[in-house]
Symmetry: C3
């Protein structure tokens, strides 16, 4: 595995390495919990655009997304300060939301082969990012779900539809969404949300992701793969992307409601106390 120092240094919150087999390993690296702020979404979008356009430094065919966090967490999801109206502004939020959506929708339909390597908590935006990949490899300690309702928010429309279309049992998917439940890796495997379940530690996890990438690499060269992926995912991704602006505007209205401001404010206080202890 060759680390491309010059390229990595372009990022503050991503640790990016390239292997000779055409695999790009991108570790989310925004301590303590990889919360997605505008900068992190922008860096992810820059990386994806870069890989798709230049296929550099060697022909990159596979993108592995994992967590560099010390704790057991893939990502806590969107940074709540980006959603808390008094901590941001309408225009900053709209930039935040459209960048987030643009990245996720493009990840969903990218010609690259994409693998999420999950361990620990994978709520909200972390879950959605994982569902946008082609494969989800996970340690047994993973918990996953779109838990927005449980913390007083609503699930973004296409995030909810993505979980519903991926899950094998519609009524279980709806129950998860309407309660904001996080489920175990075992339940997620049964429900079709996780493809491969592993015992062990981070090293085992990344090893499994690389092995999956290697068994797929000759196929990801296949000229028909990207077109076929577009056939099954393109319409959904395009609808999602074109809904971003409308959603950003209506989400801002909702986030500006006093009860939501209060809920998010309390949540931020509680979490910052917890983080201070980490």
């Amino acid at each position: 595995m060759v680390s491309d120092k010059s390229h990595s240094s372009a990022f503050n919150f991503l640790h990016v390495t390239y292997s000779k087999e055409g695999i790009c390993h991108c570790q989310l690296s925004r301590p303590p919990v990889n919360a997605f702020n505008t900068s992190l979404w922008t860096e992810l979008l820059t990386l994806l655009t870069f890989l798709e356009k230049h296929r550099y430094p060697h022909l990159t065919r596979t993108l592995i997304l994992s967590s560099a966090a010390r704790g057991n967490i893939f990502s806590a999801g969107n940074d709540l300060t980006e959603l808390h109206a008094p901590s941001t502004s309408r225009s900053r939020f709209i930039t935040f939301w459209t960048t987030c959506t643009l990245f996720l929708a493009r990840l969903y339909k990218t010609p690259l082969c994409t693998i999420a390597a999950l361990r620990g908590a994978t709520p909200a935006g972390g879950c959605c990012m994982a569902l946008c990949c082609d494969y989800r490899v996970a340690l047994a300690n993973t918990t996953i779900g779109l838990n927005e309702v449980a913390i007083g928010l609503s699930v973004p429309k296409f995030w909810a539809l993505l979980l519903q279309r991926t899950a094998t049992v519609t009524s279980e998917a709806e129950d998860m969404l309407l309660r904001g439940t996080m489920i175990s890796a075992q339940s997620a495997k049964r429900l079709g949300l996780i493809d491969q379940l592993l015992q062990g530690n981070s090293i085992k996890l990344i090893g499994a992701a690389f092995r999956l990438a290697e068994t797929s690499s000759h196929l990801t060269e296949a000229p028909g793969r990207a077109a076929t992926k577009l056939a099954i995912r393109g319409a959904f991704a395009d609808e999602w992307e074109s809904y971003a602006n409308e959603e950003a505007r209506s989400a801002w209205e909702s986030l500006s409601e006093p009860t939501v401001v209060h809920t998010l404010g309390s949540l931020i206080s509680r979490l910052s106390t917890r983080k201070a202890k980490m």
Copy 2:
């Protein structure tokens, strides 16, 4: 549990009670088999509109639908006399069908948490009503299905699509629809059409529905729940509702065909003989 006599008395075919926990329990009560006629659909629509608008008498958050029938039946589905052309008229049928559709489509996307408590036969309209709820709790003696084809009718378009989108196995759902099969509660559980399966009697059933309602009640207050439900069910419900008039007109043409009139006429005679014996 507090019964609101004054409110209940507004209904002829529904027995409605409210509990302090924000649960409205609506028992279908049109002997002998809870067949849905225009009056019953209208009462259901009135109740739903009432609960959504006024959230009375205390903030109602959950609607439990069950059967007050003496026999083992949730509902026999639509009253055949409403479908039998010589027993009704074009304009009466169109009112019947649009009321039926309006209720079902709104039930499907209502912000309320909805639970169907099923026992015994749950064919056709009874099955569709159950599928429109968030949860289906059922006694082991339940049989469920859209059996229209088996009795010489066709399945209304969105009823068929709803069963298909709820079932885990597409080909089994299609087979059920194309044969008009009623399946056991056990099969329905496996196929994702029933969420919770119970041994026992009506009291156990209603108890389970109330327990489910209580475990959900703090979440149904969550401001994001209704928006999330709308995200996953709104588009389908809206398309269904806007199709009601067109469907009513084409259904009337089909119901006016001599063979269908004959089929329904024979069926009504047979059933009225059977009812006379009940």
Copy 3:
């Protein structure tokens, strides 16, 4: 079973027999591997149109599609010489593709009850034809899949969407499509792609298909069956059919690319060597 010699003689690549129970048994008969060329698609479309319009010689209600090949194969899929640009022409290809699409989309929504009886290799077009039927009965030696990506092509859009909508696990369906995997009959049964799995030989297979046809025959007379099938499959079939011309034009561009021409050319050479040995 009564063979209608005069009608069968209209076909070069189909062996068609009719039974008194309203069952038409159509055996694909283009040695060695039932590759679909324009003539074969045209004959299939002619037969389907004939059965739908005239319901001849007795009221045909069920169509069984099987293979008359000596080897263990349902069909190898589309004849590669129809896809290899130097072996055909733009206008010939466009006729080929639109005929293929027209047949498959109409098969998917036909009022007839349709049963695919599968044994051995069922890749690409053979798999798609099977997925367009109401039922798939298969010998244990069946392997099935849309393997286009594995041979350097892309999966036609609606073929991919059809496999995805039929499969119980979305992520497994996507993996199959993106790798071009052929799966065993056992895996296909578990994934909802095969309805009935049999041990034994061709005689057992055809026997099982006839028994399924007979248990369905009284229902296929039901006036509501065709309307219900249209309710669940009509929109997809219509969208598919109306996409045929656009797809044919863009597929021709892709098939004219030097790398695709080379890939198909090599494949044709290898297969013709193999066929020579059969």
